[in-house]
């Protein structure tokens, strides 16, 4: 992008365009002929990975917007219908939701890489500041996107984050009202968040163009931090960087696919599978993992305004980094002290992320304050001081010298990248789980579920028995409003035939209307109908159940979770353990005890349950031995009922789980093959330049 292009297309049509709009020349000089330092390591592929993720998010986002309804009453349901009814909707939704996390994983690696190798230093200050702007836009976009499904965390996250602005002196309250478009977070808020969530990615793309432009003017930094001097220091972007970046993207896709197909809910919060309820706040409000360090800083300051300033300051300070760190040597490779402080800073950020997910009490508050001080000290004290007192090691004369010196000591950057990514991802993610306080209940025992693991399948017998238990017991209080009768005949379900599903539906009475006379009427259920709720509305449900509305069960196994703690969440990532919800539901069904143990008092009208948080549950013991008879000879015991009905509820929460795992396997086989081919092709391409 610097200087006139020497690109001369031979095709006359291209020549004609080139004289009038030199876009191909621009492309050629930017992505083909562009000289790239030959010593770049794999940390540099994250630029390409980020472009890939941005493209992915825009593509999947545009498609999801075709199926989503931005209305407070319909948003939650429309998201559920996307994953249930739209062709491959579950895949597209997972790609987008997981994609947001992957985008942040990549951007953090990209930023830390810039920090370590001094990529913000002269002459790349503007490039760096543009990067910070992109990051801020990403944060805004990610936050607003998280609000759209209109679950409990969405709603309360939106409330908490927008309330940050109430800290502004004098006008705070008015600003918040302005942001909401109402007296509280509501439909106008959702509408504008949807609009902006659609708009901001295009702004990001615009700033990315500037970012790449600035990059191509200043030239890429490199691990040795010396600028290219001669031709020998660089290789042409295509094919060298292109193929290497593509290999990097292919490896990153493996991680991405791991989440999409096997751990889709690992990075999210179970509470977001509960529809937004303005009357009840979840016990702990936590943002998505990628905001946790800043959330921790916010909570560490015991003053509203100061906390907000500190939080935003923690990001804005990055803009001043080029001037705070005045060291002449760019790369920390040659700065022994800076290198150590860099890794301390990384640990500080991770620990802040961990604290952001903990309840703000006791030792966590103290630790949060100490680490907040450390965070700012790194920028305001350590870096300015280091640039004055540190004596860096001599840097190589040129990039080719550095490359020659290194031959023989070939490191394994990909391995370390993969491990770092996996650890960072699982650390952050796991800390979300630990945010769920167990509130004094016992940990539910783990079960062996037929549907767990990469090849897990539903046990058809269990699904059919579970449906029977649901129909004869649970359905007197709980609805299944996201499951249609037709779903019973779908692949991956209880294995009913279409006729069986229709017959099953016709046993139900469904309210319909108005008819031509304007009256409501009752008719037999049809396959297209959804399982009706036993109560006409929430008030009636409350009235019939001592004040507590029985939750809809369609999503219950996804909407429940419990504390896993360290190190389980890391093991969970590798073992693909996703069954907290089913374990919890099965445990609660069996956790009733006739009498509360010594010393435990529970409120009048509630029942003692070992596993329910607080031990006092409003639902009376629903199952007892012999209550439901099974035709297939399975024992008529509470343990069997609980397991079967939980299996059934797991299916109602994700009817396409088998399809997800099956496609996941195919994708993995392909990706591993493809990454292997890319690796060898890359080796061949680079062989000539070493």
């Amino acid at each position: 992008m610097s200087g006139p292009s020497d690109y001369q297309p031979s095709n006359p049509a291209l020549q004609w365009i080139e004289r009038r709009l030199p876009i191909f020349g621009l492309m050629h000089s930017s992505f083909v002929a562009y000289p790239t330092p030959r010593n770049l390591n794999y940390w540099w592929t994250f630029g390409a990975i980020l472009s890939f993720m941005l493209g992915m998010q825009i593509l999947t986002g545009v498609i999801l917007a075709m199926h989503y309804t931005p209305h407070a009453d319909l948003a939650f349901k429309s998201v559920e219908l996307i994953v249930r009814d739209v062709n491959y909707g579950w895949l597209l939704r997972n790609m987008h939701a997981v994609g947001a996390s992957m985008f942040f994983v990549a951007v953090y690696v990209h930023m830390f890489r810039g920090l370590y190798y001094g990529s913000y230093k002269e002459p790349r200050e503007v490039l760096w500041i543009l990067g910070v702007i992109i990051y801020l836009l990403m944060m805004a976009t990610g936050f607003m996107g998280y609000v759209l499904p209109w679950g409990q965390m969405s709603f309360w996250g939106a409330t908490v984050i927008t309330n940050l602005f109430s800290a502004i002196p004098y006008v705070g309250e008015s600003v918040v009202t302005l942001l909401w478009g109402g007296y509280s977070v509501g439909n106008p808020t959702l509408n504008r968040f949807f609009s902006l969530h659609y708009l901001l990615p295009f702004l990001i793309a615009g700033v990315v163009v500037l970012h790449v432009w600035a990059l191509h003017v200043a030239g890429q930094n490199n691990p040795d931090g010396v600028e290219p001097k001669t031709e020998k220091d660089t290789v042409p972007f295509t094919p060298h960087a292109t193929i290497k970046d593509m290999f990097g993207v292919a490896c990153f896709m493996l991680l991405y696919a791991w989440f999409i197909f096997y751990m889709p809910n690992y990075l999210g919060d179970a509470d977001n599978y509960i529809p937004a309820n303005p009357g009840v706040t979840p016990p702990h409000i936590v943002p998505e993992w990628y905001y946790l360090p800043f959330y921790a800083i916010l909570r560490s300051i015991p003053n509203k305004l100061a906390g907000v300033i500190a939080m935003f300051g923690a990001i804005i300070i990055l803009c001043f980094l080029p001037w705070l760190d005045a060291a002449k040597t760019k790369s920390s490779k040659y700065r022994p002290l800076a290198k150590q402080f860099f890794w301390i800073f990384v640990v500080v950020c991770i620990l802040l992320g961990y604290l952001g997910a903990q309840p703000p009490e006791g030792i966590y508050v103290v630790a949060g304050r100490v680490l907040t001080v450390c965070y700012f000290a790194y920028f305001l004290i350590v870096l300015p001081l280091l640039s004055r007192i540190e004596k860096p090691r001599p840097v190589p004369n040129s990039i080719s010298d550095a490359v020659l010196a290194k031959t023989g000591s070939r490191s394994t950057p990909m391995v370390s990248t993969a491990i770092m990514l996996a650890l960072a991802g699982s650390l952050f993610a796991g800390s979300i789980d630990s945010a769920k306080a167990s509130e004094g209940s016992d940990t539910p025992p783990g079960n062996k579920w037929s549907f767990s693991g990469p090849f897990g399948k539903f046990d058809r017998g269990a699904l059919q028995r579970g449906l029977k238990v649901y129909k004869e017991v649970c359905s007197s209080c709980h609805g299944l409003s996201y499951i249609a009768f037709r779903n019973l005949a779908e692949a991956g379900g209880p294995g009913y035939s279409v006729a069986q599903a229709a017959a099953f539906a016709s046993e139900y009475k469904v309210k319909d209307g108005p008819n031509d006379a304007g009256d409501m009427f009752e008719r037999a259920g049809r396959p297209a109908d959804y399982f009706p709720s036993p109560f006409p509305n929430e008030q009636a449900a409350r009235a019939a159940n001592g004040g507590a509305a029985p939750p809809d069960l369609s999503l219950i196994t996804k909407a429940r979770s419990y504390k896993r703690g360290f190190p389980w969440f890391i093991i969970d990532f590798f073992s693909q353990y996703q069954e907290q919800g089913p374990d919890y539901v099965a445990a609660v069904l069996q956790g009733y005890e006739d009498k509360a143990p010594e010393g435990v008092t529970i409120p009048e009208g509630s029942y003692f349950n070992k596993y329910f948080p607080g031990h006092a549950i409003k639902m009376p013991k629903p199952l007892s031995d012999g209550q439901v008879t099974f035709d297939d000879g399975s024992p008529a015991t509470v343990a069997q009922y609980a397991k079967d009905v939980t299996t059934f509820l797991m299916w109602t929460a994700e009817p396409h789980m088998e399809a997800r795992k099956r496609l996941g396997f195919q994708v993995f086989v392909f990706l591993i093959l493809f990454a292997g081919l890319m690796y060898f092709t890359k080796k061949k391409v680079w062989a000539s330049s070493h």
Binding site: I63, L81, D85, N87, G89, P239, P527, F670, L677, K684
Partner: protein, 176 residues
């Protein structure tokens, strides 16, 4: 990229490049499928397109009703004797889209005409009981249909289509 080292093994190198390119192409094409497939009707839409039943008993002779099936208006006309006779009197060969009236209704139920009320020109909804042929008239570009729903005049190329339907009883039909 014409270097000595890679020229040593042209076949191996070429094979690698071709295999990688092919894998990328296959992967890209396969990945495209979900992105296209999502545009098709979703499962709830398909389920909602199930057959509907319509009770004909309240429809008097000379009257017609409009019902919706799969988002399309369906005209159900209870034709008069005169209308039926008119429809059967025309020379079929002279029609732009030749079709006998017998082929457009169910035998034994000649008085009932069931057609999809969408003009075959550009998709407007014709008005019943209008136009010069005792049938339908489309206000958009002036197409005229007769009492059998056949095109008689105007730019529309084809007759109003007859949806799949059957009589469940003498006074009840199932559309779909």
């Amino acid at each position: 990229m014409t270097t000595a080292s890679s020229a040593d093994h042209p076949t191996r190198r070429d094979f690698l490049f071709v295999a990688t390119g092919a894998a990328a192409a296959v992967g890209g094409a396969a990945a495209l499928w979900p992105f296209i497939s999502q545009m098709n009707p979703d499962a709830s839409t398909i389920a909602a397109g199930a057959p509907i039943e319509v009770d004909l008993s309240p429809v008097a002779e000379g009257q017609d009703i409009k019902v919706f099936w799969r988002g399309k208006p369906i005209y159900i006309s209870h034709r008069t004797k005169k209308q039926i006779d008119e429809a059967r009197a025309v020379n079929v060969a002279s029609l732009p889209d030749p079709q006998t009236d017998e082929a457009r209704v169910k035998s034994g139920h000649e008085q009932w005409l069931v057609v999809i009320g969408i003009c075959t020109h550009l998709g407007c909804i014709p008005i019943a009981h209008e136009g010069s042929y005792d049938g339908f008239f489309c206000p958009c570009h002036g197409s005229q249909y007769d009492s059998s729903g056949r095109i008689r005049q105007g730019p529309a190329p084809a007759n109003l289509p007859v949806p799949p339907y059957q009589f469940v009883s003498d006074t009840k039909i199932q559309i779909g």
